[in-house]
Symmetry: C2
Subunit: 396 residues, 2 copies
């Protein structure tokens, strides 16, 4: 029989945290742990709006997995998962390799949810990984460089679709970056336009209205034009067409309007809602005691408001921690601990020195919130990689 | 009548140097000097291959005209010349403004000579000014950023058409820049290709064969693929087709194969050869005692070899100096001094720490030549802007 094989798919917050926890508590030769990931590094998804805008070095938003994990304890395979066969208990990689498992942890993250909006998939960028954000940054810079050659304002018009968390944080960074770009490329700041387009009746839907107003005020002052209550009808190579008929000509459309679980989960035959699996209190995929889902692919209902918890890094990290314990408990035949999210609060950055947030039930604004944002970000570094990761990547 | 009006078109090496010289030797109220230029700055054309490759900050390759000239002595107009009417003695700008003159200095530089190669004008970049080289740099970076998303090797294949001075210096810089780009964007260096394509039977036509061999050896070792004796037949959005039928797929084609004088000179009715005016020994346009041409637009025959001098910064600076003196002599009714180029030697950079050159009749290579290249570059700074410009922009 040999020792049980634990296979973790994805080194995002959920999968990586599971691996970290397993390294800590598994005894020698108690199980064989394999982690599969597309890249040799973990990236800090919640920070990606910064390198996308060009306000932070992308290398500061990732860390080599060998810096976090002990590669003698966790076997690492660089590869892309193409399918999961839950009956045969095996996973197939893009290179054709098959991996079998006794316990499977699915932490495959999310993909953009386009809500069927035509053209979005082909003509819009999304802030989804290191490669994607480097492309967005370079695309914006290239278009600024072209401006003096071609003088088309489409080149310096940026449309951000979706004014949720990521969308708002991204336009915040853009307002800091634009003046630098204008200086670097001799572009008159008055020709540059940033649009934040949101289908819902408010930006940051679900946030406290006082915080929302503050955010809109700050960002409007910094030069953002909001189009609220205005769905995007179509995205074309020339820009976007809004539901009210207005066309915004833009060479740079970035879609932040939502995510759904990785399509591989659905293709494997798990029951999903928007690609997410409604897991039980132990993060089991329904009907599968040896398959767990963490992070953006896991759907958990917040009973207080009868709505799903939003997919956040905070919850994914907590899930990974809990799941490491529960897999070891399962192997040892011990009692499992139900997972319960513990919400510490939320802070949204609005660019340098400005943010809004809710810590417990306390609303915070401006400098206080901006400092708190760094504390939150550095705390997640600590949870994943301890003090050594904080030393390397902390926001100061 | 008033005092004579001297109008200088263009603040390149020739035009700017004329203005600098006039400021030095004109007496108060002896003439009114006006300089028209597209930009508020002068740029160091001979350095542009560096910011184009991304190895130097473009801002290090330009200097504000107000840093060089005394704007109380020289009236500066930011504008683009659209036509010269030599009969009416006036110059028209893009904004419709007319400027009259008693003495005209044409220093309007060059434009790419495409030799009728199809598609070159639309699908190739040229290393021609600050805006253009920023676009080239950003285009290359953007394509490297796209590589991991699209995996097409066209994105990281760069074709440099023409292996004259600029072409060779540019591929030299690229060989230094590529490893940095590969690191920044996680691109495997083995997929990147740099082609240097030259129609003539040798790179650096006209250079000493020993120096040419050294240059090819160095650049080949650094990863450049040479296609010598191979004209480009066509440039398309997909790359280039060579005369021998080979197609090189590339998203980045940079044309350095030659220049011709600014078309405005020809359009004004001056007799030209490849857009250049065969000036007399006082830099007069033939038949016009009050019109002078300097820099890339002026054609002077080197009697020793019965071929035109190549258009270089060195000669343009010497012309500006001579012309300043001669315009003042003309105004004062004094005797003019014939212009005679004084060739100090030539050094071509092959990237960091490598160069080749001829100083007098002495051939230099490697580190010695690389050091000499910096000396030459810093010397031209000194000639244009004195020690203060050397302090600001010197190559160290």
């Amino acid at each position: 029989m040999g020792i049980p094989k634990i296979l973790i798919l994805g080194a995002g917050y959920g999968g990586l945290m599971t691996a970290v926890r397993l390294e800590k508590i598994l005894n020698y030769n108690e199980a064989e742990v394999t982690l599969v990931n597309k890249h040799e590094y973990h990236y800090f998804t919640t920070w990606l709006h910064e390198p996308a805008a060009g306000t932070k070095d992308p290398d500061k938003c990732r860390v080599g997995l060998d810096q976090i994990l002990d590669m003698n304890k966790t076997q690492f395979i660089k590869g892309t998962v193409t399918s999961i066969d839950k009956e045969a208990q095996k996973v197939t990689l893009e290179n054709g390799e098959d991996l079998s498992y006794d316990y499977l942890v699915i932490g495959l993250g999310s993909e953009p949810e386009t809500f069927g909006i035509e053209g979005l998939r082909n003509h819009a960028f999304s802030i989804s990984n290191i490669n994607a954000v480097r492309e967005i940054r370079e695309h914006i810079e290239y278009n600024f460089a072209r401006y003096n050659q071609e003088k088309s304002s489409d080149l310096v018009t940026i449309v951000v679709g979706g004014a949720g968390f990521t969308g708002v944080e991204f336009v915040g960074e853009l307002t800091d970056r634009i003046p630098e770009l204008c200086k670097e490329f001799d572009v008159d700041p008055s020709v540059v336009k940033i649009y934040s387009v949101e289908a819902a009746p408010t930006v940051l839907p679900g946030f406290d209205p006082e915080l929302v107003n503050y955010a809109m005020e700050v960002l409007t002052r910094k030069g953002v034009t909001f189009k609220i209550n205005t769905p995007i009808k179509e995205c074309t190579p020339e820009g976007v067409v809004l539901a009210d008929g207005e066309a915004i000509k833009s060479n740079t459309v970035v879609w932040t309007g939502g995510v759904r679980g990785n399509a591989i989960i659905e293709q494997a035959g798990f029951e999903t809602m928007r690609g997410r699996v409604k897991v039980d209190e132990f993060l089991h995929a329904p009907g599968h005691d040896n398959v767990f889902v963490v992070g953006d692919g896991a759907l958990i209902i917040n009973e207080e408001i009868n709505r799903p918890y939003p997919p956040t890094a905070q919850i994914a990290i907590q899930q990974g921690n809990n799941l490491g314990d529960n897999i070891v408990a399962t192997i040892r035949g011990a009692k499992l601990t139900p997972f319960k999210p513990s919400l510490k609060g939320t802070v949204a950055s609005l660019g340098k020195g400005e943010a809004i947030g809710l810590v417990g039930s306390k609303k915070i604004f401006g400098t206080t919130a901006a400092i708190m944002k760094k504390v939150v970000d550095n705390r997640s570094l600590f949870l994943i990689g301890g003090l050594s990761l904080v030393m390397k990547k902390a926001k100061l």
